[in-house]
């Protein structure tokens, strides 16, 4: 069984790689298997962890669960065209609750905390910052200010205002470049993982 499993994994990996040569039936087969298994895995996991885990093992001892289950059932009304409109109620609940939840979280963590961290003395509290930190603080202050100026569209980007906006563009480009570099690194890691599997786990060629 172990041999079969590793050959199947290798067959599917090679199938996905074959797309680099050109689109082909092998690749399409592997893609379809991946999509099908992912959907099946999700379904089984959600069933056992949620419906079985909470309503059978957990005996549904949290009454709020029944409200959630009821809303979930309403969502399935979409399958009956005549009463499909009922599914909008749970959808409205999800949209409203999620929006409210996100509003508070993002405002608190990603806005206020970050603003608080940006507005700080350049030389550090009690002038205690070292040269490295002072340079870092200046970069953050200049980058934040010029970046905000770039996104201020109520005034034409000309003169000193335009020059500041251009500095903002440079900061944005550096940010995007860093993100892209990290993305390349991440994708290479995936490739390394699969090739390590092929040459190591499968063929045993790596010492």
């Amino acid at each position: 069984m172990e041999h079969f499993a590793i050959w199947v994994a290798a067959f599917l990996t090679m199938g996905i790689f074959s797309f680099l040569y050109k689109d082909n039936a092998w690749y399409k087969l592997c893609e379809a298997i991946f999509v099908g298994i992912s959907a099946g895995y999700w379904f089984v996991t959600l069933f056992w962890d949620n419906i079985y885990g909470k309503f059978w093992v957990g005996k549904g001892d949290d009454s709020m669960l029944y409200i959630g289950a009821f809303l979930g059932l309403l969502m399935l009304m979409r399958l009956v065209p005549k009463i499909g409109w009922i599914s909008r109620w749970p959808l409205a609940f999800i949209v409203g609750a999620t929006a409210g939840f996100y509003l508070i979280n993002y405002f608190s963590s990603n806005v206020m905390r970050q603003v608080e961290d940006t507005i700080m003395p350049l030389l550090g509290p009690d002038y205690s910052a070292g040269a490295y930190d002072i340079i870092g603080n200046i970069v953050i202050a200049v980058g934040t200010f010029s970046g905000l100026v770039y996104f201020f569209f109520s005034k034409e980007h000309k003169g000193a205002f335009g020059a500041t906006a251009k500095v903002g563009i440079f900061f944005l480009m550096i940010t995007f470049g860093a993100s892209f570099g990290y993305t390349v690194m991440s994708r290479m890691s995936l490739l390394i993982g699969r090739l390590d599997f092929l040459f190591g786990d499968w063929l045993g060629m790596i010492k």
Partner: protein, 334 residues
């Protein structure tokens, strides 16, 4: 010979090669091989020379196909597996602070580790997870595993199984339910974290294998985040570190570090400066640094050479691509 016939011939030759290699592995005569230092350097030199030839051809107006680029990337990732070269790894401040945060935990501290990734992200995050478990078990920290991604808890189990093979950890005879526990996956994304803030059990009535929460000695007295000494999130996207910071850290005051895929790391770095995260392991590089700090040589360290080679190849082809672009009057396409 037709193209189809050539393709079939290549597939047949490759299949024979794979069967022979696999048979060798099973039979025991294929134990892997490694280039000597001299051969490794020769291979590197040959690759550099071939890249210079490509650059020369590009300057002459002869463009290469995209498949050549794929081939070079594949070679640059694969050959370092067999090379006798090593790469120096420097510890970055965010990895050092993360390690210091874990290192100051006294034995017996309860650590919550959230596994929010799946197999595609394993090359980056699995080495981190293994080093993390190795450190925790060697230092008598109690570990609670959960997952907001369905395959997360499975990844945790794989890491634990591997780490348990270490002699020092095997000698400790760690008990499931007492020293570590896997509470499994729960759907609901950040709402799960929110509910865990008031009651863990409501979100995880059973563990991964179906044992009721109250029958697990390690967690039966764990009510919410106030009973957790340290949180560690392995994250590959949504839900992940951002959600843990927003809810568990900012609302409930959990002390937390994170291991992220490289794609996600830039999004989370601002949380370090603001003190919301203690530290971050960013991508494979972060994994290698953490391995260095915890005194192990795992796949994070081993893969860094491939990573660096691949980056060099990408940079080389960016230069060649730009040469082609400017030489073609910014009109021709590669």
């Amino acid at each position: 010979m037709s193209t189809r016939l050539k393709e079939m011939l290549v597939v047949a030759v490759m299949t024979v090669f794979f069967v022979i290699m696999y048979w060798g592995k099973v039979d025991g005569w294929m134990t892997g091989f490694q280039f000597s230092f001299g051969l490794s350097m020769t291979v590197v030199a040959l690759i550099v020379v071939s890249l210079l030839v490509i650059l020369y051809l590009t300057l002459q107006g002869k463009m290469i196909g995209r498949r050549v680029v794929f081939l070079y990337v594949g070679i640059s990732v694969t050959l370092p597996f067999f090379m006798s070269l090593s790469q120096q790894i420097k510890i970055s401040p965010e990895v050092q602070t993360l390690y210091d945060g874990i290192a100051e935990l006294p034995p017996g501290s309860v650590v919550l580790s959230a596994f929010d990734y799946d197999p595609p992200s394993a090359p980056e995050l699995q080495p981190m997870a293994e080093s993390f478990f190795r450190y925790c078990f060697n230092n008598d920290l109690k570990v609670i595993v959960i997952g907001l991604w369905p395959q997360g808890p499975q990844q945790a189990n794989m890491a634990i199984e591997k780490v348990m093979l270490d002699e020092s950890i095997a000698a400790k005879n760690l008990q499931y339910g007492i020293d570590y526990v896997n509470l499994g996956f729960q759907t609901g994304n950040e709402f799960v974290i929110q509910r865990m803030g008031s009651d863990f059990k409501s979100m995880f009535p059973t563990d991964y294998s179906g044992t009721p929460y109250d029958e697990l000695p390690l967690v039966k007295n764990v009510k919410n985040f106030s009973n957790i000494d340290y949180g560690f999130n392995f994250s590959a996207g949504y839900p992940g570190t951002v959600e843990w910071v927003q809810v568990a850290v900012d609302r409930y005051g959990l002390k937390m570090g994170a291991g992220n895929t490289a794609v996600q790391a830039p999004q989370c770095y601002p949380y370090i400066r603001s003190g919301q995260l203690i530290g971050i392991l960013g991508g494979m590089n972060g994994a290698a640094e953490f391995e260095l700090l915890t005194g192990t040589v795992g796949k994070g360290t081993k893969f860094m050479l491939s990573q660096s080679f691949a980056h060099m190849i990408v940079i080389a082809f960016i230069i060649i691509g730009n040469v082609a672009y400017f030489r073609g009057g910014r009109k021709r396409k590669l």
